[in-house]
Amino acid sequence: MNNIKTFLVLILLVLLAGLPFLIKGIAPGWWELFSHILTKIFLNVAFGLCLWMMLQAGMLSLGQGAFIAISAYMTGILSVKYQLVTNLWLCYLIGALTASVVSLLLGLITVHLRRIFFLLVTWAFAEMLHPILTSFENPFGGAAGIVNIPPPSGISLFGEPGTGYYFITLLYAVVVTLIIWSVSLSKVGLIYKSIGQNDILTTFCGIHVRRYKLQVFALGCFLTGVGGGILASYLTAVSPETFTFFASLDIIMINLIGGMGFIMGPIIGAVILTGMNEILFAVGYYKMTVYGLMIILVIRFLPGGLISILAVLRTAFRRTGGNQKKGGEVERTVA
């Protein structure tokens, strides 16, 4: 079974690596659109997986957009505003470390809170970032933000920048997936899971719950932050309007649509949500209405996410019956 999985993943990777050359060969005009959507998908996969890892420890954060923003702004400030660091890769690293440190500071006073309080405080934190970014002209550039953020150094290897960002974000998504996959299989991953299921019981098992919660928060925000820096380069500009409430909400929605039970959930969710966002771009204000309606309907009729369809089918196929996943997957994972 494990061999088959590894084989499938390898095939998928080879396909993704060959995709640019395939599309450029068949329909060169479409590549610009495809590379844009796929780049966004790869970034969202990584962001969604970072939140998924935190969700395993029962920490639902509605402020992930803020950590992306912190890292993206750090990249912009270091590379353009003050021109301290010319190597963009170093900028991404420093940005991610900043996001991680901020998350640690926020975590120090919030990780012991009940989950709904944690959610509210991270949300308030993300909302508070917006006025700060808008009102301080000097480091953050005010409402206009920071423009002309350069691409990283190795990007010319791949020809035009679209292909370059495709491969950079693909690499980022694969590395993040591997890290989070191995963490979730390791002993630490099991500890996160048990904290998510019952933190009091976990404390009684002699596990320092607070430390592990801080650890997963900082790690998740670090990995998210790397993507934030890449996003800043990709968009070439950051402004307070780039990182609104929807940036944070999208990351939760990725987990909700895909399903939180398995690591494949957020990956599927990211593909579908990103695709939908691009398609819904055409309908204007109805985009919000459709988005809201989608949240309500998914929760009502598919509480385990899309991945739960697979699980239900598999149990039905095996006719074991006993282990059937009926919904409420969201709750069991987080509660």
Binding site: L120, V121, A124, Y285, T289, G292, R300, E331
Partner: protein, 287 residues
């Protein structure tokens, strides 16, 4: 600093505080009864303001009649939403939470579509400037908003504290199962509680429509404040949220005047951080 300015800021603080009080007490009420955080509170605020605006501007009703219209319409909207969307998932906290976000975004999107992007505002029909001794000038509209808000909160205290419905609500808040065993129709009471909370948000919106301009997104600011207030006051404590509302109203007013309009957001959050460090359960809260 002249005492005149201080008085003016205090008046603004009182007005903001009374609006926040309506929002936050509705949120607390809904949390207490449904055990669910209502992220759609802001859009009901917006709908209340829009209803008052359209009833006054287009249907030609007097302003106070349109406020009564909110009182008449919003309970039914609340019951409808509770019945259709929130009841089937009431026992699941994350699902409930995310559905309220879904309702928020759906209604805000519809709002942009139907109300347009132009900011709207009503003028208070009986506007008089009251001149107090000491050179302080207060418009009558602000006084009316404060008085009406206090009146509404008094009615809420009466309903929750003295009536049969209020006793049933408190029973469900304390022990949902035991309340059911005592023969309380919990579905009905929860629906009424949600309707009451929504109506408070709608009334806050209706009152605000004469003071500030309104747009489809204008509910999210007061809602964020209301959340900061219930974190400060402790979830589920109405008294705590009333005290914290006026605290935040004064902080917004003084901070906004002294340090610029964006400072209010920041100071409120800073207060949350300080409080979370020293007293995690809120001023009046209990774990």
């Amino acid at each position: 600093m002249p005492s005149q300015l201080i008085m003016q800021m205090a008046v603004t603080g009182l007005v903001l505080g009374s609006i926040y009080m309506l929002m936050a007490s509705g949120l607390t009420l809904i949390y207490g009864i449904m055990h669910q955080v209502n992220m759609a509170h802001g859009v009901f605020f917006m709908l209340g303001a829009m209803l008052a605006y359209y009833a006054t501007k287009f249907a030609g009703l007097p302003y106070f009649v349109s406020l009564f219209l909110i009182l008449a319409v919003f309970p039914f909207i609340g019951i409808l939403f509770e019945r259709v969307i929130f009841r089937p998932i009431r026992h699941l906290w994350l699902a409930g939470y995310m559905s309220t976000i879904g309702v928020w975004i759906m209604i805000e999107g519809l709002g942009w579509q139907f109300f347009g992007t132009v900011e709207k505002g009503l003028s208070f029909p009986y506007e008089v400037l009251l001149r107090l001794p000491g050179g302080v000038i207060i418009p009558l509209s602000k006084v009316t908003v404060c008085l009406l808000a206090v009146l509404i909160i008094a009615v809420v205290y009466f309903v929750v504290g003295r009536t049969k419905l209020g006793r049933q609500m408190r029973a469900i808040e304390q022990q949902p199962k035991a309340a059911k065993l005592m023969g309380i129709n919990s579905d009905r009471v929860v629906a009424m509680g949600f309707a009451l909370g929504i109506t408070l948000a709608g009334m806050a919106g209706g009152l605000v429509s004469t003071l500030y301009s309104i747009s489809p997104t204008s509910g999210s600011g007061p809602m964020l404040k209301a959340f900061i207030i219930i974190i400060l006051g402790g979830l589920g404590s109405v008294t705590g949220s009333v005290v914290a509302s006026f605290l935040l109203g004064f902080i917004d007013s003084f901070g906004g005047t002294l340090f610029g309009p964006q400072a209010g957001h920041f100071l409120g959050f800073a207060l949350v951080i300080v409080l979370l460090i020293f007293k995690p359960a809120g001023i009046f809260g209990h774990e």
